[in-house]
């Protein structure tokens, strides 16, 4: 029974990816297809970091390093060997995928070992340092192509061949999700969770803490490495500046924002955080020109958001009402936010200095991004999903409850 479900879900996953591929190719422009690919890679990164950070509880903020190691494994190997081996096209990519995962897993081993001696912030800074070391070393390696050109180092390098397959990227992301989820459902996953909860007690229950920690690091880094390989071949160009420290922070943010330990949360947060800045990039005013905001509008919105945060926090942490009352409260706050923001903007627009200062929304997009990050953490510190996971059972339960309510009412 269980086996049949498994085969069915594997097939469904593959069919889904194939469908996604076909749909993307049929309906999306190349630029949008690329965004779908990048989104898939971010999902992989977030879920794999979630394994290390959220599930095993090892505070790692150097995930970009493994991504970079995967990408550069593909880059260097393509530079030296592509065209010289019988492997071509997609089989080459698959081979690279496994090699990239392998090298990244080895790097994960190297980073995992300090985790045996270090905890918390100390481990965090070591992983951060590891990321910087990798970037700097890659930056210092110059290569000379057969044509005599300089490549590598800060100049970056081309990665041949260019293969961008949306379905494959998402299949990899799905595999990452599936593996992480399988692990969570098994007793091995529980052992990892117990390490997060209390390392000493965990050891006292016979959990081989060092082995499990290193395993978590290796699995998580392997998937990041695989994502790096896919990035290198999909973009067909890599340079050290594509893997800055900020990237690690963004991925970490995805994990925490979604709810540390929740795979569903990581996926949702990765998609949101990736697409929101892209969405803001394309935001237009109704007449098709670039959208601008005046200083008055801005100040109005800022005040409204701060007020809304205060109200929502009060509702979430202090208010002792029923869920229904609370939901109404949130709704009212949202409406209030709109009204207050608009009204304040209108009032403030009588101040000439504020009215004249105009900002293009494109220039504001990173500010909006950072601001919403703070707001979400203040309103919901445990992450959007907390430690909940999506499951069919949960959906069935919700639907059943809905039906029951309808039957009653």
């Amino acid at each position: 029974m269980a086996l049949r479900v498994r085969i069915a879900s594997i097939l469904a996953g593959m069919a889904g990816c194939w469908l996604l591929d076909v749909l993307c190719r049929g309906m999306l422009r190349e630029s949008e297809q690329r965004l779908v690919v990048l989104a898939g890679l971010y999902v992989t990164l977030a879920v794999s970091l979630n394994l290390i950070n959220g599930i095993a509880g090892q505070f790692s903020i150097g995930h970009a390093a493994f991504y970079q190691i995967g990408a550069y494994t593909a880059g260097y190997l393509a530079f030296f060997y592509y065209g010289k081996l019988p492997l071509q096209g997609v089989p080459w990519l698959i081979a690279m995928l496994f090699l990239g995962m392998g090298t990244a897993a080895l790097a994960g081993l190297v980073v995992g070992l300090p985790s045996l001696r270090l905890r918390g912030d100390y481990l965090a800074i070591v992983t951060l340092g590891f990321g910087e070391i990798i970037r700097i070393v890659v930056q210092a390696i110059d290569l000379t192509a057969p044509t005599g050109e300089q490549v590598g180092g800060a100049l970056g390098m081309n990665v041949e061949p260019r293969i961008r397959i949306v379905g494959l990227v998402w299949l990899f992301a799905l595999t990452c999700i599936a593996v992480t989820r399988n692990l969570c459902k098994s007793s091995h996953g529980l052992a990892l969770l117990s390490i997060r909860e209390d390392e000493i007690a965990s050891a006292a229950m016979g959990v081989q803490v060092p082995k499990m920690k290193v395993a978590a690091f290796m699995i998580g880094s392997a998937f990041a490495g695989g994502a790096g390989v896919l990035l290198a071949h999909s973009e067909s160009f890599i340079s050290p500046s594509m893997f800055p420290m900020d990237l690690s922070f963004i991925v970490l943010t995805m994990v925490v924002l979604g709810g540390s330990g929740s795979i569903t949360g990581a996926v949702i947060a990765a998609l949101t955080l990736f697409y929101v800045p892209e969405y803001l990039r394309g935001l237009k005013a109704p007449d098709g020109t670039a959208l601008t905001a005046t200083g008055a509008n801005l100040v109005g919105w800022i005040v409204a958001v701060v007020a809304a945060v205060v109200v929502v926090r009060w509702l979430a942490f202090r208010f002792r009402g029923t869920a229904r009352q609370r939901a109404m409260g949130y709704l009212a706050t949202a409406v209030g936010l709109l009204v207050v923001g608009r009204a304040l903007g209108w009032i403030l627009s009588s101040v000439p200095a504020l009215q004249q200062a105009e900002y293009e929304v494109q220039k504001l997009r990173m500010v909006i991004f950072a601001g919403s990050l703070i707001v979400i953490m203040l309103v919901r510190p445990e992450g959007v999903l907390g430690r909940h996971e999506f499951s069919w059972d949960w959906l069935a339960r919700v639907l059943r409850r809905q039906r029951a309510r309808e039957a009653a009412g």
């Binding site: 269980a2 086996l3 498994r6 599936a178 593996v179 989820r181 399988n182 692990l183 459902k185 098994s186 007793s187 091995h188 996953g189 529980l190 052992a191 969770l193 117990s194 909860e197 209390d198 000493i200 007690a201 965990s202 050891a203 006292a204 229950m205 016979g206 959990v207 081989q208 803490v209 395993a215 699995i219 430690r387």
Partner: protein
């Protein structure tokens, strides 16, 4: 034959000798007590036996094998399990999962199986769950199996710790002040549980306790520690009348 033997076990932290040349033996099937005033080195003694600290001198033999200096997880595998004085449950896991973690020693699937979601691993996890449920029932916790450990009331947390320790299937069970903070009725209850652990599960038990009456009523043999040194050993009646013990306790009382 002794199950556990301490031979002049010693540990120093800097200048402080926390446990000084303590020796005693526990036979299989015994209910053994370890008592002493505050700071006598009882918990340190436990930490030495379970491998959390490495002894600076002496030997610790379990089933005639020197276990001093082995990693904690390996000592558990050999058959020693413990509870903690200040409860250390995996707070955000359910009671059942807490026990499953401990039962995982006896799983058959390996990590690769788990990652691939192999049916074998799933079946294995199911089996461990069943086993864990059995231990929960043994300690009367089956009703709270799906509650978060940190949400349980104090008494149940204590018992969950015992269930969890039991799930590693040890030969020797170390209980660190299991009755701390309990009222007399609860203590009576607990004493019954401890006796049952031996009779039903056949465990050898070493327990630390503060409450003299509790220990005297429960244990067959007792070792008394003071300032890291063994000052007395023997059956409850002997220990109760040992002038050194009285002095140690009275000295503390004054």
């Amino acid at each position: 034959m002794s199950l556990l033997r301490l031979e002049k076990a010693t540990i120093r932290f800097g200048g402080l000798v926390a446990v000084n040349e303590v020796s005693f033996e526990i036979a299989p099937g015994e209910l053994f007590g370890l008592i002493g005033p505050n700071g006598a080195g009882k918990t340190t003694c436990f930490n030495l036996i379970t491998g959390m600290y490495r002894p600076t001198g002496g030997r610790i033999l379990f089933k005639d094998r020197d276990i001093s200096g082995l990693p904690v997880a390996q000592i558990v595998r050999l058959g020693i399990s413990r509870t903690f004085q200040n409860i250390r449950l995996f707070g955000s896991l359910t009671a059942l999962d807490n026990v499953v973690v401990a039962a995982h020693l006896h799983r058959r699937a390996n990590l690769i199986d788990a990652l691939l979601g192999d049916p074998r691993s799933q079946a294995d996890t199911e089996r461990l769950r069943g086993e864990a449920m059995r231990y929960l029932s043994a300690l009367d916790l089956q009703d709270v199996a799906s509650a978060r450990a940190s949400d349980l009331p104090y008494g149940k947390q204590r018992r969950l710790e015992i269930a969890r320790a039991l799930a590693t299937q040890p030969d020797l069970l170390l209980l660190d002040e299991p009755a701390a903070g309990m009222n007399p009725a609860e203590k009576e209850d607990l004493a019954g549980v401890v006796r049952r652990l031996r009779s039903e599960f056949g465990k050898t038990i070493l327990l630390i306790e503060h409450d003299m009456r509790f220990v005297m009523g429960l244990c067959e043999r007792i070792v008394v520690l003071d300032h890291g040194e063994k000052i007395s050993e023997g059956p409850p009646d002997h220990v109760r009348n040992d002038p050194k013990v009285i002095e140690a306790y009275l000295g503390e009382a004054v």
